[in-house]
Amino acid sequence: MDDFMLRALAGGLGVALVAGPYGSFIVWRRLAYFGDTLAHAALLGIAGALFFDLAPLAGVTSVCLLLALLLFLLQRQGRLAGDTLLGILSHTALALGLVVLSFMEEVRVDLLGYLFGDILATSGRDLWWIYLGGGTALLLLWRLWRPLLCLTADEDLARVEGVRVDLVKALFLLMLALVVAILMKIVGLILVTALLIIPAAAARQWTASPESMGAAASVIGMLAVAGGLTASWHWDTPAGPSIVLTAGGLFLLSLLRRRR
């Protein structure tokens, strides 16, 4: 096997590993479209960075963090569900980005190119990012695990039992934003958001505890990565979409098993 395949495999497995537990929270907390929202907002970040002559990465990162904070504030306000809030944020941010860009005619970067990585292009340096960054993200999530579960079950109970609900929620969203932004740049938006949602949803059909769901999601994601890359290798299909399709197939399988 070629080097680039091995690196893609290593990268993909790492991403799937990280995506499992984070994706479980995404499914529980109705944040399925967090990644898309970040991608839309990133356009604004790039536009802003160009405007203020900063590095695009700085712009994207700050907009992503800002977005996580905004989402946190809107969630506190109550009433509206996660997907509605994400929809509002995502469309408003995208529109703002487009309007700002329309005033900067001479801009000639490929905006989407900043966002969409390709898993086949994973470099050795990317692997460091995935494993070190991802490892840190998992470690942080592990530290927040119990309070997060507590407040996912019931916020009032969590608060009474001394969980600092607001702090934990804000931290989680910030962590999620960083993880998604970094992975998106490396392996592409579609692949990251799909690996966050689909394996976790499939795992839900098989598991009975949050921990097992997180772990099963990681495993299912890794299977999808391995299967998708193999398919891409054999049939020359694009790598990212092949992985997503494999994950979709695994989800279908999980539904079948539940019927019984």
Binding site: E106, V107, L120, S232, G240
Partner: protein, 279 residues
């Protein structure tokens, strides 16, 4: 004086060369804006409505314009792709495309990067002059004169490029996306292929490996990226191989709108190829 609207930068350049005054040509799609999220602004709509002539390649490329142009009368529209005599090439398959692919007609889609063929560009320039003369007969001779002159410059440049590129004609190279078919045909270049047909559609893993093998076996010298796209995949492709990297820009967006810019675009492609391909 007639007002013109051009969809893409190279078309605007050519139109400016014929009209003489770049400020009378409105460019719709600036720089690297993605046609997917691109929507026209009121000023552009007004320009479109007030235009005496709108120049575009055709629905294959500027899909976002189809709906805007639907209501425009035929005589105010100049569709590059359907000029009589224009050379149309069918889309190539990515990777190691078959060289014997003949110029067949309706079967399959047309490669829309027409403007990179100097013959096509000359044809467009002359057609533009005729249409402008029809719209504005008073200045008809001016348009024809400028068009002849620009066509002459293009022909001269074509000759010069042909000579310069003759030295590298047999050199093998790879481009990022398949945008240069017309240029290559015009100058008899023999690229190995493109990494991708369309920048939106990434290649599969097997193609990547086959391309690597191809690069290794064929003694390729150079791979070319484009300024709009990050060359991450190209880097993977050439990793460990002794290949030079060059850059080609099929649009030439960072030069001001003028007839000379189109010449610069072609010359720039030539320079890029020669400097990377010759040792």
């Amino acid at each position: 004086a007639p007002k013109l609207v051009a969809s893409l930068k190279p078309l605007a350049d050519l139109a400016a060369g014929v009209v003489g005054d770049p400020s009378r040509v409105e460019l719709l799609l600036p720089g690297g804006a993605s046609p997917h999220s691109f929507t026209l602004r009121p000023s552009q709509m007004r320009a479109l409505a007030a235009a005496d002539l709108v120049v575009w390649v055709g629905p294959q490329l500027e899909n976002f314009l189809v709906r805007h142009l639907a209501s425009l009368p035929e005589e105010r529209l100049l569709t590059f792709g359907s000029l009589s005599g224009v050379r149309l090439l069918p889309a190539r398959r990515g990777g190691a495309w078959r060289h014997e692919a003949v110029e067949h007609d309706e079967d399959g889609d047309i490669d829309p990067h027409l403007w990179l063929d100097p013959d096509n560009a000359r044809l467009l320039v002359l057609a533009l002059a005729e249409r402008l003369a029809g719209i504005d007969p008073e200045n008809g001779t001016d348009y024809r004169r400028r068009a002849e002159r620009l066509a002459g410059w293009i022909a001269a440049l074509q000759q010069g490029l042909s000579d310069r590129l003759a030295a590298v004609r047999t050199k093998k190279y790879l481009v990022f996306h398949d945008a240069y078919q017309y240029f290559e045909r015009a100058f008899g270049l023999e690229p190995l292929g493109a990494l991708a047909i369309h920048p939106d559609r990434p290649p599969g893993a097997r193609r990547l490996r086959e391309l690597r093998d191809l690069l290794r076996r064929s003694g390729a010298v150079c791979v070319f990226s484009e300024p709009q796209f990050e060359p991450k995949l190209l880097r993977v492709l050439t990793e460990g191989l002794a290949l030079r990297h060059g850059q080609l820009d099929p649009l030439g967006v960072d030069r001001p709108v003028s007839g000379a810019s189109y010449l610069d675009l072609l010359a720039g492609l030539g320079d890029g190829l020669v400097s990377c391909l010759s040792n």
